[in-house]
Symmetry: C2
């Protein structure tokens, strides 16, 4: 009979610690945002470095701004090596969601100082990079296909949706998914490190407006990972506040439309797995007043208790 | 006989004042550099706003970085209106020297927030903008020619070398000259306000390396203006220090090659008119150590006593 109080003590002290340890898992990934905004500020356009926590073998998800973001991260002591070493040695490859200039300008501008590496993307994105940016009229052809002479610093690697591909010079794997971004096919990249995942989405409109099932298919693919607590974070865009009319979304999301998509995800996962899920909100479009509105509207509509995170240029995030 | 000392007094006091007034003329132009570097820093790429001194009807010579440079100028109190007003109302047109991305990225990125205006350039430059940047694969077609639908915010205006063209919505006139920039035709813009001129050169190699006579022709055209003291300033690039081998100049100048071109200009004007001529040195390529070297080498080679000016992002220059 004397064991009962001891059992109670164990129950009251040990169990919560175990639960805490489970919910506060060690991070599996680190992100370094090099640019976070959805437009007009050339010094802060979409680009996110990503590596496994214990590694400096980064990939760069989109590449709107590189140099200025890297310098900011160095100034913040997020990196302890010089900026040119981050560019040349830490970044092992670029994943371009689509070829709009605000997602690739930094890669083109920095190419003369860069090292040999791969550029990954869906077929249509690679094609536009090849025919519009790495050409001798608009720049120089630093890639290995397209106009001659090809300087062969970059190797184009086309990703096929549905296939998981090993990312060269890293221990990461990636799977690409098509997204609907007005007239363009954009992409989401599901990145795996061992048994953990993160999902990065390029620009996307909601399925209902885009008359698409691309997001629905993506939610179906990742729902099991969320239920198994293997998906550490989703990076997804919210470009405009709810005041933006549906007919002028230009293939983007508002807080309303993000939450409508989260409702569809919840229908697949149930509500419990979404609670506390890290949702990194990207591509907010200036002015500052719009950005404040987006944050307020997301907070007010957060019925699934998602952990809404707003990335800051040059400051690391660990998930 | 008593008039002699008075004559001497007049000679000693009045004449120097008259001379001073002549050499310290009122400025005719103001420049606001929005970006001054020759690469990799997305926040500081070639772009120079220019207006007659008493006017806010600016043109923008190249447009590598707009938003970040405007914000810096507003922070410096160079402009006393908000940045979006500078973009939309002060800038009346863009003059693009050539279509390399570091000279046009800011224009493309800022186009959604911009107002209706003209884009001026030589035929080949306009053609590349039309087929590579303002397309629906790489951006949106904000111009009035090229892929449909054309959003018609910008009107392309092709400049013909040899013709002086009135710049719409300003009191300025412009004449374009072709330059040799490796495989590309680049441009110089000679801008006139009443009887005063400034000359802006886009990227250019030296005639000797480019196997061209474009710079020689330009010097012949402007020599009379220099002799008549009508040319207020020349903005010209020096991208690399002298250590850069001739075979890897990629259509750029070094201090040595700039001064070799200035020798050719001096042969047309004589040495006296060059003394004190404002030479604004643009497009210096990082790293900082190269930029310091360029400045030292130019200073050491400045036999014509040119007034070498290094523009600073967001700080006005008056000539």
């Amino acid at each position: 009979m004397r064991c009962k109080p001891i059992s109670l003590i164990i129950l009251c002290i040990i169990l919560p610690l175990v639960t805490l340890a489970q919910s506060k898992r060690e991070p599996a990934f680190k992100f370094v945002p090099l640019g976070v905004l959805g437009g007009i500020d050339e010094s802060n356009l979409s680009a996110y470095m990503l590596a496994a926590t214990d590694s400096n073998k980064y990939i760069c998800l989109d590449a709107g701004t590189l140099h200025y973001g890297i310098e900011k991260a160095v100034a913040n002591k997020t990196f302890t090596v010089p900026g040119n070493q981050v560019l040349r040695q830490y970044i092992k490859g670029y994943f371009i969601s689509h070829a709009h200039l605000d997602h690739i300008a930094g890669l083109i501008i920095n190419s003369p100082e860069d090292s040999v590496k791969n550029i990954y993307g869906l077929q249509n994105t690679i094609e536009t990079i090849k025919t519009h940016y790495f050409t001798w009229e608009s720049w120089a052809n630093f890639a290995d296909q397209g106009e001659t002479p090809a300087l062969k610093k970059y190797h184009y690697q086309v990703l096929t949706p549905g296939n998981e591909t090993a990312i060269e010079n890293t221990d990461l794997q990636v799977q690409a998914f098509p997204l609907s971004h007005s007239n363009l096919i954009s992409a989401a990249f599901l990145v795996r490190s061992n048994d953990d995942y993160v999902l990065y989405l390029g620009d996307t409109g909601p399925d209902a407006i885009e008359k698409s099932t691309n997001l629905q298919s993506l939610w179906q693919a990742i729902a099991p990972l969320i239920k198994d607590k293997k998906l550490r974070a989703i990076l997804i865009e919210v470009s405009f506040p709810n005041e933006q009319p549906d007919k002028t979304l230009f293939g983007h999301l508002t807080p309303h439309w993000l939450m409508a998509e989260m409702d569809k995800l919840a229908a697949l996962t149930g509500s419990q797995p979404l609670k506390g899920l890290n949702i990194v909100v990207t591509h907010l479009k200036p002015p500052a007043s719009s950005i404040s509105k987006i944050k307020e509207q997301l907070k007010a509509a957060n019925t699934w208790q998602l952990n809404l995170v707003y990335p800051v240029q040059g400051k690391a995030l660990n998930f």
